[in-house]
Symmetry: C2
Subunit: 412 residues, 2 copies
């Protein structure tokens, strides 16, 4: 008799964004007129077209696929050298950060990588996550059997939650207890918080002391405007011995529908075998990618490569300027509406406090029904997200301005 | 202290194809002249350009991504409805097979799906694989901790190997013991064997009786020329209750570098919880895809959709005719060289017996060194692959003819 992976049955309701989609669809079906003026600031999905440099490169790659002489079949599972070397050079070595080309693993998404990375780690690790948290870190641990059941606020036993609150500026300090794997995400989704060099240094020192591994999600690094804030965990001395970094082309190049990301696994990063042998993680991840993945679509990798051209870089900067202009408009609007507002300065997310006595799903429903705007309820990101909601700055300027107006018009 | 997944350390040397690549690179570096006349019939990678219908559709999709009005960000993780419905209709319902659109899960590759499917099954299953076998089925089970160590011939304790030999026509009958999960692959990689309706019926009956799940890999179904041979496991009554089917656009549409495949999980397929509750697998796979995957690149899905147009279908048939023409040439050549030859009639692989006393890696090295042709050593597919090698028909006609000549010239 075939057995299921029971751990899936521990998962609370739907994954956050499908649940939002469900409520939005129900609203639209019940309110055909209001549905027409709906503005989506929920899921962090880009809205602006792909950079022209990408369009051009992808067309060219597709034409190559039409000729026998230039056709490409299976590529290297870890990504084409042409892309790995641009990444390692432009995102790391040009900033004085040591990362080798073959420490870059090109993938079809950071969500996939953040989930799949657990494949190469054991089941005996004590795991820490920020709260609120990007749900994928938690759900993939549940699915892997690393937790018990969830309580009413959606927190799972067996995970260590690091509270992110206004009091600590949404940046948790290192805990007193020992964690083996810690997920950190800066600029943070959902709070929009960033970690200073000193805060990251404390985490790297902690990880080295405890032989922990930091899983560092830097998907939003392109949105950092403050020149003092690290873009990569590897800016911190020692991080090559204790951190894996996830990055994505989704939010800088607008690749959410094109699908390309990468993960950095330094060869100097070790973890322990059951018998206590200190062993490099890199060959395991290499093997995982060779065995369970077949590389990213060739035209997509050419598109990603184009983001590193002079033109591509300028077009990305233009996109970031656009979205961060929206963030400014939304921050101002939410403040003018009397809300306490965080984030939105070095990240495309505004993290707003709900008015007293209003829960975050309640706020979601009211903003949907009364302002016809979709936001993301903070509680969907964890217990410490209750009392907050996230507004995404991914939109047209006109929509951002309209959302700012509607938020101000809303009577709580 | 962070712990690794020790199971990775049980894996024997490299995954087969990287190991072949390593030997070929070493040969090429040592023999610059011979390297120029190298012909690759190793990895089953297509060589002919993408169908024009696909090229056109992908260009169009990329142009859509260049305009705000038609730009697409995140798509549904399970695939766009436009593609799921074409698959369900053309590959199943038009052939009288019941498969609903939402039982189709579009992915970036069958290799990924075959590996990832283990996520939704428990660790207590007794697992059967054919021998020889596509290494991904075995390696992903090793990585998931479902096996012990490997013996000298590369077989892992804890797995049940079903021998595929000339005696049983490379189609194993159902075993006497109970298996919970069984991987079947027809047309078979590597042997090129196909299963008759009656043989599949015995497996479906076995699975229903034992409440097993069949993981049916039909990546090569487009190569079936015999009209009596089933293309889908769902042609067998009862299969919707006991089988998951994997299919790919890699080998019909030439998508090995473009990346698109799909998996069928019928809603009527159940497996047991630890407590013995019979539960549908579909919602678990749906959750797995939502949480650990972000959908296939939009232009790629449009390319796949184009394979179902009248033009696309004709262009696929043309590709299949081309590769199967090669298979005929290679079969004839290998026979004329005095080898015992199997496969190559309903599959793009020829499965040749090595001359007496010559091991399959030995044959690999000699064919590489003396004929400058890359084949795949049978032993790389499992212990029962020893004494065989696989010749891939994915090539130009001129190369196939040249390989046939060189095989005949080879003195064993």
């Amino acid at each position: 008799m075939a057995y299921l992976n029971d751990n899936y049955l521990k998962l609370k309701s739907g994954y956050l964004f499908p649940e939002i989609a469900r409520r939005v669809n129900a609203f639209c079906q019940a309110n055909a007129e209001a549905a027409k003026r709906l503005i989506r600031c929920g899921i962090g999905d880009v809205t602006e077209p792909l950079p022209q440099a990408v369009i051009k490169a992808m067309h060219k790659a597709i034409d190559e696929m039409a000729q026998r002489e230039t056709f490409r079949g299976y590529g290297p599972e870890q990504g084409y050298e042409f892309l790995r070397k641009e990444i390692a050079k432009n995102d790391y070595r040009d900033h004085g950060i040591e990362v080798a080309d073959d420490e870059i693993f090109v993938s079809d998404g950071s969500k996939c990588d953040c989930g799949n990375i657990l494949d190469v780690f054991g089941h005996e690790n004590r795991i820490g996550v920020m709260d609120p948290v990007y749900p994928v870190y938690v759900d993939t641990n549940v699915m892997a059997g690393h937790t018990g059941a969830a309580n009413d606020s959606g927190s799972y036993s067996g995970l260590v939650y690091l509270p992110c609150t206004p009091e600590n500026g949404f940046v948790p300090d290192v805990p007193n207890e020992k964690l083996d794997l810690v997920y950190l995400c800066y600029p943070n989704n959902p709070t929009g918080a960033i970690a200073t060099r000193e805060q990251l240094r404390r985490w790297v020192d902690y990880a080295i002391k405890n032989r922990s591994v930091i899983l560092y999600d830097a998907a939003y690094e392109a949105y950092i405007s403050d020149p003092g804030i690290p873009h990569s965990i590897y800016e911190i001395p020692g991080a090559r011995e204790c951190a894996i970094e996830f990055r994505s082309f989704s939010k800088n190049g607008g690749f959410t529908g094109v699908r390309c990301a990468f993960t950095v696994v330094p060869k100097s990063l070790n973890a322990s075998t059951t018998e206590g042998k200190w062993t490099s993680v890199h060959p395991l991840w290499q093997r995982r990618m060779s065995t369970k993945f077949n590389g990213v679509s060739y035209p997509v990798q050419r598109g990603a490569e184009a983001l590193y051209t002079t033109q591509g870089k300028e077009q990305v900067r233009e996109l970031i300027r656009h979205y961060m202009g929206n963030a400014q408009v939304l921050r101002k609007g939410a403040k003018a509406a009397g809300l306490n507002v965080h984030g939105g300065v070095n990240a495309p997310y505004i993290w707003a406090q709900t008015p007293p006595g209003i829960g975050s799903w309640q706020a979601f429903d009211r903003i949907l029904n009364e302002a016809n705007v979709v936001i993301t309820p903070g509680a969907g990101f964890g217990s410490k997200g209750e009392g907050f909601f996230r507004i995404s700055a991914f939109n047209s300027r006109a929509n951002a301005e309209e959302v700012a107006r509607r938020l101000q018009a809303l009577k709580w």
